[in-house]
Amino acid sequence: MTKFVQLLLQTLTLGSLYALIALGYTLVYGILRFINFAHSDVVTFGAWIAFAIAGALGWASTGSPVFAMPVVMVLAMAASAALGFTIERLAYRPLRKAPRLNVLITAIGVSLLLQNAGQLQALFGKDPVKMPRLLSEAPLFKLAGVQVPWVDVVLVVLTIALVIALQWLVFRTKLGQAMRAVSWSEQTAALMGVPVDKVVSITFMIGSALAAAGGVLYGLKYRQLNQTADALWMLLGLKAFVAAVVGGIGNVRGAVLGAVLIAFIEVFGAGYVSSKMPDLFVFGVLIVMLLFRPAGLLGTPTVEKV
């Protein structure tokens, strides 16, 4: 029982991280029908910039005030939103009408650029760092013999709050309506007076801010930040991407569902089946899904956008 609850808790925290990252993939895909391969690097950037901000504000050592975490979080999300805006504006927008393959290759180029620029001494450097403890790792409560630390509770609660906020934005606001209209047809949306470029920019900013939230929470939970080109970040982004695909890429609820499912399979696979290759289960699920339900759990099979 203790083991089960332990694994369940791990599923929730890992699933939350995947969900925050998966939402960015799904939002951008939903609106532009393209996979933003540089998205996982925005996650990395978010984590590292949070580390830099915490340092700059003098919260690198222990004993930081309680408001340190929200301040660092908000600033890191804002910085990442600015990065996402810039990437779209400079790299993707000029290619809006180009063949999809060109955009895909550009995205890989942007990804490599961010991974390598991040290692510059003037930016984040080559050495791994330890994220300051902005959230207490002390237990908040005990559940079936399992200590549940503050950081886990904050991580899950904050993710749920962000997902609800996003859901509200997409389905209950004028901006969300415009996003869904652009997703269906950029041209028709423009004919209705929707400023398409602006809507696309905002979508990138929202996706990047959520990615940063994921990156910062990852840092706060696992504490170790590897250099920006480390395979660990790519794997984190890749699994979140798998979550988005399994849930039905382009679908906001699907991304969350896929994230929890992927985390569940990874954590319980490692816990009960074999701890040697947890990623094997994750990519196994992807293959099964692509074979039997290519549109994903909540995706509707659609014809390719022309």
């Binding site: 041209q187 423009a190 004919l191 007076g193 929707v194 400023p195």
Partner: protein
């Protein structure tokens, strides 16, 4: 008096294909002008060039005296030009109500929007019963009604309609054209593109015949409808 819309020597090319080769015409305020022609004549291209969706290689488009060249499509809407595109362009992932909301996207006068929405639903009562329905589930005729209603919600000075009769049964076509006439009577200027020349010339004041990218005949709609050559080529009279 200058016309509301002036299209002057419009040239459009898609890659190597010259779709428009110098099209010029004008639409006066209060008129219904129709552009008729066969498949591929360039009717849709003309409307897309006016709305800013394609860039002309030569020529100019002026609306209310101001050039529309280089103006982004959504800013053209803001100037009072609304375009119900070919194939209806319904947002099938949105409800009927949300489609109507998007039509009024740029408007901030809530009371005015509510009034226009009410009026559009009076013109198309079928839409009222289906407000919450997903727009993709509407029939073809209902989708066309929604496309026109949505375009009206921008409160346009000029309404561009691209083949509203496309793929619809004769009774529905008759109904749609009756409403187009009504919209015109209420004061909206209309530029109507049609392959159904018979219906188009009935509601229009002025007609232009487009053949492979150039206007070949223009005149009062009634005169065109009586013209032998046009009757043979476009009205199926032998």
């Amino acid at each position: 008096m200058t016309a509301l819309l002036e299209v002057d020597d419009l040239h459009v090319a898609y890659g190597g294909i010259q779709a428009l080769r110098g099209v010029s015409f004008a639409v006066d305020e209060g008129q219904v002008v129709t552009l008729i022609g066969a498949n591929g004549a360039g009717k849709t291209t003309t409307l897309r060039a006016i709305s800013g969706l394609v860039k002309p290689t030569r020529g100019n488009v002026r609306f209310a005296g101001k050039s529309l060249l280089g103006v982004a499509p959504h800013r053209i809407v803001a100037r009072g030009l609304s375009h119900a595109p070919e194939g209806r362009g319904i947002f099938a992932n949105l409800s009927v109500e949300e489609n109507l909301d998007i039509g009024a996207y740029l408007r901030t006068d809530k009371a005015g929007v509510a009034k226009d929405r009410e009026h559009a639903l009076t013109l198309f009562p079928r839409l009222r019963e289906r407000l919450q329905q997903n727009a993709g589930t509407l029939s073809g005729g209902e989708q066309q009604m929604l496309a026109i209603a949505r375009a009206l919600l921008a409160r346009p000075r000029l309404l561009l309609l691209d083949e509203p009769s496309l793929g619809l049964a004769p009774q529905i076509v008759a109904l749609i054209f009756q409403i187009v006439k009504q919209i015109a009577k209420e004061g909206t200027t209309i530029l109507l593109v049609e392959q159904n020349a018979h219906m188009a010339l009935k509601v229009a004041d002025v007609g232009h015949v487009l053949e492979v990218g150039t206007l070949v005949t223009s005149g009062p709609a009634a005169a065109l409808a009586a013209d032998d050559a046009i009757r043979k080529a476009y009205l199926g009279v032998h």
